[in-house]
Amino acid sequence: MLATSQSRGSYKPSQSTIVLGVTLVLFVALSLALPGFASLGNLFTLARNISILGILALGMAVVVIGRGIDLSQIATLACSAAIAITLIDDGWSAFSAIGSGLLLSVAIGIANGFLVSVIEIPALFTTLASGLLVLGVTRALVVPHYQVFLKPGHDWLLKLGGTVMGGLPVPVIAFVICALIVHLFLSRTVLGHFIYAHGDNAQAARLSGMATRPLTMFEYAICSGIGYIGGVIMVGSTAIMHLQIAESTLIFDVILVVVLGGVSLVGGRGNVLSVIAGTLLIGVLLNAMTIMNLDIQTQDMIKGAVLLMAITLDSYIHPRDEETAKQGD
């Protein structure tokens, strides 16, 4: 990306800039056309509704930048969070229950990374299978009916889904904190740079002395761990964990948000801004369509059309070549 813009000597906006632009245009148009859209309260609502998706996308972005993919992310977070709630309901202390869930999700991430890097099974198959395995085992042993309710009396956990300081939703704060940490990690730490290097050219990264196998495990562990944070916030918002989300299209929404903003599936490209851009576009769309109370067919048409537009615009500004080609092009 950097190379092309230098060689042509002209400014080329990145994909995230384009998506942000599209979002901005949509936002202005909707503010003019839709009463109640541009109010502060609605902006908080909009931000709250996308913050969980955004958090999950941050985790996924780390793996995708390292040229991987984690299809088991939702299953892992749903099962770890469901097990954590079960423990809380059984009278465990909050710290140990939530902590056990986190350890479990990180362990699943490390196992994914191990299978991908040491056994060398393609990430797509590994995580597809591990997601099913995790879901099946959890359902058989812990959550037979797919859903766990948080028993009443744990209001501290429900605060995670509430608001502070006159309407600022806690999930949004969590998203901002996660985004900041992931941003600093990816751009300021050696390990963060290693992940880019690993995604850009795994072979070269390895030959230059990086321990790519532990690095892969680390990437998947981050993805699962951040996903688990999203899962705990889900519980805070709804007081229920329904394992069915593991089989819903949520995982594709997460990948869509990641890819839309410019975190390429070939790895090594994109950053936290990409994730935020993709999340915002989806958020503005969903919020406006809910306010307009559109039926589901119209919603699908609009969603599809806007996504195609964003992608078309990107491919017009960035014509495909060897360097920028993406998997599946």
């Binding site: 509704n49 797919y146 859903q147 889904g161 007081a239 329904h242 989300i245 819903s248 809910t290 109370n293």
Partner: protein, 340 residues
């Protein structure tokens, strides 16, 4: 020709009568005078024991597990074999399961339709090959030997009437929202349609939102937060299913509007739904009680097994009764999930 036929017919009848007499004579010998009560039991045993019932739900959620539990308890007692296939919400798997079960030729096939069309052709094929078919909680476009379940449009109408009572006629802003399930699920579509019609009939009610939530508590919470943001004076919510509504209720609570926004939910009677009413998160549930529905399914099976007519001869309906749950005293209308 016809004369000859008639004579042979008489001969057959005569022979039949003779054999009949012989059998009766020997039975009287064996069992002294035939006890009509014992005979009834023997007839029942003969019709029921050793028969096979195949059951394909959409998945084994709380509701379906309760049906299955009740069925299994009764069938074990009667000596009926129950075969369960769990397609886990995947419609292609469900279709395959039904197709392969038809080839296994059970005596009764029970299905829970995900849509009005998915299984319709296979259900017809099942009846043509002599298998009696019972449909649960949602009939497909193909009517079969029996239907057992809630009258879904009636559920929608009853919930709407209650909502009008709470929010209509100036007793509130009159603004209401509907939370649908999945956009293509007929259970959700039918209920939403009936509720919308009933709500629209009242001039003081305004439906400000009617959105699908894909049975997801998070989506329901998001939609509700959104609707409350746009309509802070929202008066009521009508929802087609309990677990996803838990998310909506938390969103109402987070907005500080618990009590102001009345929440009316169609429920299968799962324990969590009664909990939610007792915690004041739901205003009222309309429960169709999975446990008694399970018994209605068993009754339909017994009826069809004892009916000597072939598959497709009748179209029985067992519409189940709905019960309002509005507090602790109505706990009986929720079932108890036994510890395994």
């Amino acid at each position: 020709m016809s004369g000859l036929k008639r004579i042979t017919g008489w001969m057959h009848a005569g022979l039949g009568a003779l054999i009949g007499c012989a059998i009766i004579a020997s039975t009287i010998d064996a069992a002294k005078a035939a006890d009509p009560r014992a005979e009834l039991y023997q007839k029942f045993e003969k019709a029921v024991r050793g028969k096979t019932v195949a059951w394909v739900p959409v998945w084994l959620g709380v509701l379906e597990s309760e049906w299955t539990r009740v069925m299994k308890a009764h069938f074990d007692d009667y000596g009926v074999k129950l075969v369960v296939r769990d397609p886990n919400f995947k419609s292609d798997v469900q279709l395959q399961a039904v197709s392969s079960l038809i080839n296994d030729k059970p005596d009764i096939l029970i299905v829970q339709n995900p849509t009005t069309t998915l299984l319709a052709r296979e259900l017809k094929r099942a009846m043509e090959s002599g298998i009696k078919v019972i449909q649960i909680n949602m009939a497909s476009n193909q009517l079969t030997d029996a239907y057992v379940g809630a009258d879904v449009p009636k559920l929608g109408r009853s919930l709407a009437e209650e909502l009008v009572k709470a929010c209509g006629g100036g007793k509130g802003s009159g603004k209401v929202a509907i939370l649908q399930g999945e956009a293509t699920a007929a259970y959700s579509l039918d209920m939403t349609k009936a509720a919308t019609e009933a709500l629209s009939a009242d001039k003081s009610i305004k439906i400000v939102s009617s959105q699908p939530t894909n049975w997801d508590a998070n989506k329901a919470a998001d939609v509700t937060t959104n609707v409350l943001q746009q309509n802070p004076d929202l008066c009521g919510i009508l929802s087609v299913w309990g677990p996803m509504t838990a998310g909506a209720a938390q969103a109402v609570k987070n907005a500080g509007k618990q009590g102001q926004v009345k929440i009316f939910v169609a429920s299968d009677g799962q324990p969590a739904d009664c909990d939610m009413v007792e915690q004041g998160l739901f205003t009222k549930n309309l429960s169709y009680r999975a446990d008694t529905q399970g018994e209605a399914i068993v009754n339909a099976v017994l009826t069809l097994l004892q009916d000597s007519r072939p598959a497709g001869a009748t179209q029985l309906a067992y519409y189940t009764t709905n019960y309002w749950v509005s507090g602790k005293d109505d706990r009986q209308f929720c079932f108890v999930v036994p510890k395994e």
